[in-house]
């Protein structure tokens, strides 16, 4: 009350022009404690402000800055793509395309209108019941469907169902499908390689995802990087040694042959003689890597790499080649093969026809078991074993292909003479088709052997000499005779080109005994003979018809494959012969 009157008087005084010093207000005597209180309150307020400032700036900064950052800073994942796989000419064999995984928080979705859920089920290509079953879960996270294509995922997002989320992922596509699948392999939904080259090269193919911290504005646009960006690294592209054209030719030929001869399976491999690159690797049966829902082990099997078999006569050139190289025989050294049977210890070796006195060349041309056995028995077991080992039989392949097998060659110390003879014509020893094909390098090249490669090479690797160049040339001459009239594989002839090779027919081992009805027919050959460019090996497993010997089932496959491959690669013909008339008698040749 008194304060109010004071104020009034001072206003009156000022308005009346009373000098400040003579203002009546100043004359009022107040107790000094009142000003002390005001002073104290003011100081206390400042102290509180200072304390608060200290608290915010000094003690809880980290917490506050973090909270602030949450409101504008975002971490963005930078995805990296898995590398492409291409053939040697750059045609894509496997490529990743971004897709979406659709997942749900089941509790949130339960409240969605049924009409929208029906639409969702339709977009996911599921029945309503199936969708309900997935959503009836106690978990907080359920994948509804993975690898949904982008446009479908966009439609799902547009439905705006609460609790339905999408996550970016990649789907691998294999445009060549079943044709190249045994070389390329496939990945699982997590983009991890599962088979063949996808598995072997997983480390280089897979990308490393990066991340970055950014400031986003109100509209969600990125305006600034906060920290340095962790760059994503895309996986490296992989260029295979495969030639799509030859691969397709090999695939169709194997497929046709398996159907024609009612066989259980078939396989073929084509190697580049100069570089050791695998140009084609085909299997039948096979599978479509884009749809693996009905995949069986039989389809998955890569018979070229993982199946071993007793090759039969196609192993003879190695024994004969070794004997030539060591100077034990000459191409025209005569051997008496008698009337078609020979006894070693208590076992009998047969030839399909009696050949009597023939030379080494003819032993190969007619594929005489007795002749080869006689040559083999004239050599120490150790030398033969060494030869087999040098060309890679029984050795674990190191060509970067998962599941490649070593085959089996028993140590020479345990060989009995009958076993040594058997091995000379490919029994009691097991190899894979690719090992067999590679071993023929010593004849196709000038006696040396090089490692194989599934990736395109810039330069040819250096070889290891196994036999002399002279021996290789002599063997090539004999291998060519095999396909000429009088040989065991005239059906392997190629019009316009000189070719050579060796057939093999092996009885399958069933329950530890040689089966009389189950065979594996194979043929390993090279073309063109004037300067070998391809080695082609074909295997037909359990031909079901009356024809089962290698020359008759695998020979024609080789012929067709070689003819088309040579033409596809523009190899000039080296023979004038364009028509082939197979003599009736030779067509019934033996193994």
């Amino acid at each position: 009350m008194s304060r109010g009157s004071n104020l009034n008087t001072s206003r009156v005084a000022a308005s009346k022009g009373v000098a400040f010093s003579r203002s009546p207000v100043l004359a009022v005597r107040l107790p000094t404690w009142r000003s002390r209180v005001v002073l104290f309150v003011l100081f206390a307020a400042f102290a509180a402000l200072a304390g608060r400032a200290l608290w915010l700036q000094g003690l809880s900064t980290q917490f506050l800055q973090k909270q602030g950052e949450i409101r504008y800073a975002r971490t963005i994942e930078l995805p990296a793509t898995r590398g492409k796989i291409t053939d040697r000419d750059g045609q894509v064999l496997a490529s990743s395309v971004p897709v979406k995984a659709i997942w749900a928080i089941p509790d949130d979705v339960q409240e969605a209108p049924p009409a929208k859920l029906k639409q969702l089920a339709r977009l996911l290509e599921m029945s309503d019941a199936e969708l309900q079953k997935k959503l009836d879960s106690d978990r907080n996270f359920v994948y509804l469907k993975r690898q949904v294509e982008q446009d479908v995922a966009d439609q799902i997002t547009k439905l705006e169902i609460e609790g339905i989320q999408t996550r970016k992922e990649y789907k691998r596509f294999y445009p060549q499908g079943e044709v190249t699948t045994h070389v390329v392999g496939f990945t699982n939904v997590e983009d991890q390689g599962q088979e063949s080259m996808e598995l072997a090269q997983q480390k280089t193919l897979q990308g490393v995802t990066g991340s970055r911290r950014v400031i986003k504005d109100r509209l969600g646009r990125i305006v600034e990087d906060i920290e340095s960006v962790r760059e994503p690294h895309d996986g490296k592209d992989l260029t295979l040694s495969i030639d799509s054209k030859i691969q397709y030719i090999a695939f169709t030929q194997v497929k046709d042959a398996v159907e024609k001869f009612h066989a259980k399976a078939g396989a073929a491999v084509v190697l580049d003689v100069h570089t050791g690159e695998v140009l084609a690797l085909a299997n039948w049966p096979t599978y479509n890597p884009n749809d693996r829902s009905k995949l069986t082990g039989e389809q998955l099997r890569n018979r070229v790499m993982t199946d071993t078999f007793e090759p039969g006569s196609s192993l003879k050139p190695f024994t004969v080649g070794l004997a030539l190289d060591e100077g034990r025989v000459k191409p025209h050294t005569m051997f008496d093969t008698g009337a078609g049977s020979m006894v070693i210890a208590d076992r009998v070796i047969h030839d399909t026809h009696p050949h009597y006195m023939i030379d080494v060349q003819t032993i190969i041309q007619k594929s005489s078991n007795i002749g080869t056995s006689k040559i083999a028995l004239g050599m120490p077991a150790e030398d033969m074993w060494e030869m087999f080992t040098k060309v890679g039989f029984g050795q674990q392949p190191k060509w970067g292909f998962p599941g490649a097998v070593a085959g089996r060659v028993r140590p020479y110390k345990s060989w009995r003479p009958i076993e040594q003879a058997n091995m000379s014509f490919g029994q009691g020893i097991s190899v894979s088709l690719i090992q067999l094909a590679r071993a023929y390098m010593i004849f196709a090249r000038n006696g040396d052997i090089i490692p194989l490669s599934f990736q395109k090479l810039q330069e040819a690797p250096h070889g290891t000499q196994v036999v002399s160049a002279k021996t290789a040339a002599e063997m090539r001459e004999m291998l060519e005779m095999v396909t000429q009239p009088g040989g065991s594989a005239v059906k392997a002839q190629v019009p316009g080109y000189r070719v050579g090779g060796k057939t093999g027919t092996a009885q399958k081992v069933v329950n530890g005994r040689y089966s009389q009805s189950k065979y594996i027919g194979n043929f390993v050959g090279m073309a063109p003979m004037s300067d070998p460019r391809f080695i082609i090996a074909v295997m037909i497993d359990e031909p079901g018809g009356p024809v089962h010997v290698g020359g008759d089932v695998a020979g024609p496959v080789f012929s067709a494959l070689a003819a088309q491959a040579l033409r596809a690669k523009n190899v000039a013909p080296d023979s004038d012969l364009t028509h082939i008339i197979i003599p009736e008698s030779a067509a019934q040749g033996n193994m």
Partner: protein, 91 residues
Amino acid sequence: MSGKINLVLTILLVACGLSLVNAQYQARHLFIELERTQSQARQLDIEWAQLQLDQSTLGKHARIEEIARRDLNMTPLTAARTQYLTPEASK
């Protein structure tokens, strides 16, 4: 005298401040532009991969062969029907 200097400095300070604001604004805009272009580049990359896939799918040898045989009535070449020409120089 010092009053004038102060005035000039104040104006300078305000101008600097404003230009800083402007620069930051420009920087953010350019950054957004960069972002957009980069995401466009990524999008084009994806499209390219997709097109490569399509090329490989459509250029499949099996498909070419089928069309050649069925629609164009073509037959495979044989050596008997081929005339080989050898240039003189290579002989």
